[in-house]
Point group: C2
Chain length 291, copies 2
């Protein structure tokens, strides 16, 4: 694969991660953001939004398995699942691996993301390309959907981009209050991506106290996503009623999904909830608290 320079994600003043660039496959400006798909020899094809890496062919399974299987295997019987964001399709692909799931709604604000991924990242977007009778795709604002219409879900997954631009409102207390009080059934679970404790301490210190006000249980779990800043990523696990992160009764389902995964297994599910001391401190004793 011949290369032509580098493709870089730059966080001004702190960080730049670059990969050799083989080809630019798609570039467009939607109503919401700049959408790009590039090809790289190291990580395969890569989706960037406003210049920030969202997913790559070679490591996408870490993020998508961890955001989907943890809540679906924590819930005692998830039948209806809402995914907000996630227009690349990787999260719904994983959700649809669960035979007990009867209905999945994907609510993505940016149609250009969906179309670019269907065309250029079909291995990630396969459920969008091939369709599934259980899947409904809504192009629209997840914040408004949750405020006005969404109800009766067992699991809500917030697969957002960074907390600026179109993803910003997905990190607000109003949104999470609506998820907890309107969208979710009793016993319902929310999982949301919450950035890196190394580069986004401000997000973590703001979001976890907020989630703690909206849910009876709110705690982080960790995974290694090598193409995200620092490689150390967090997701928030939130429950309307406190419960184990992997109930004993769900062990069989967790074991059954493992052969379909490259990252997830039941022991890793539990281990992902064990935090290093410095992350415990960010979550439990934030130096900056705001509403």
């Amino acid at each position: 694969m011949t290369t032509q320079g580098w493709v870089s994600e730059t966080v001004e003043g702190s960080y730049r991660l670059s990969f050799p660039l083989a080809a630019r496959l798609f570039e467009g400006q939607s109503d919401f953001q700049k959408v790009e798909v590039v090809d790289t020899p190291t990580w395969g094809r890569m989706l960037l939004l406003d210049g920030l890496v969202q997913t790559t062919q070679r490591d996408e399974w870490v993020y998508h398995e961890m955001i989907a299987h943890v809540p679906l295997l924590a819930h005692r019987d998830p039948k209806r699942v809402l995914v907000i964001g996630g227009g690349d399709g990787g999260t719904v692909r994983e959700v649809l691996k669960h035979p007990g799931v009867q209905e999945v709604v994907l609510c993505e604000i940016d149609a250009m993301v969906i179309e670019a991924c269907k065309q250029h990242l079909p291995g990630i977007a396969c459920a969008l390309v091939e369709g599934d009778r259980r899947l409904t795709v809504r192009v629209g604002d997840g914040v408004a959907y949750v405020a006005d219409e969404a109800q009766g879900f067992d699991v809500v997954i917030v697969d957002s981009s960074e907390p600026m631009g179109p993803g910003e409102e997905l990190f607000s207390e109003t949104f999470y209050t609506n998820v907890a009080q309107k969208a979710l059934n009793a016993g319902g679970l929310l999982v949301a991506q919450t950035e890196s404790p190394w580069y986004n301490r401000d997000v973590i210190e703001r979001v976890y106290p907020m989630l703690g006000r909206c849910f009876a249980q709110a705690q982080p779990y960790l995974g290694f996503v090598p193409t995200y800043p620092s490689g150390c990523w967090t997701w928030a696990f939130c429950a309307k009623t406190p419960q184990p992160v992997l109930p004993e009764a769900n062990q069989g389902r967790a074991a059954a999904i493992t052969p379909l995964c490259r990252y997830y297994n039941p022991d890793l599910h539990r281990a992902a909830f064990v935090m290093p001391n410095f992350v415990v401190q960010q979550v439990e004793q934030p130096s900056v608290v705001s509403g």
Copy 2:
């Protein structure tokens, strides 16, 4: 802090991680490698060897706590500890936190690394700057030391640079055979850094079968080191006699060290040994096996 361009670690053809550069504090060419210390606003001061980031002020504790406390808290009563490499002093700083340790030998091949760190990274090199009656610093070749002289150690820690240049022999079967058969006491433990499963699959697939031939028990553990490639790092835990990675009898010592740590705690110690599926495959079913 004003900046002047970027300092980068480049792996040709696959990866470049860059940080804003505030100042170049030290640059020298030793008999073994290029030694640099720079200052950055994001990660503080940073040691590079032959252009590869070895440690930074802001995240050094992850690597040093995990390479030191895991074997010292796995061993039932570590009294004599050998550290090979580790000329920055961070690993011996952590080892010396254990009151039961009576003697530590640091065997570093490159005097320039020791001197540059004592001068420019005193928070990491504090044990080298201040001294400790239990610590002996040897400037010399760890491979030869283990082959010819070293014996009677309870724990050996290989805190090497990458497996090229001066670190290359520290990834050889002859070296590990000598560690197991000559340097270590009965019940002895080895821990060695073994690179990233994302960027150094070849190293992992070669080293773990080799360690399995030298030790009765050889298994990886993981930690998040944000300034290393991918952020996902492995260490090998090897025992002459199979044993738990954290014996019940050592729980009290593990709990006592936790308040002195920013990353390590006993639950994390155990969780670090739970591997994602793709790492299990690299270790147990390597696609490339060589002697």
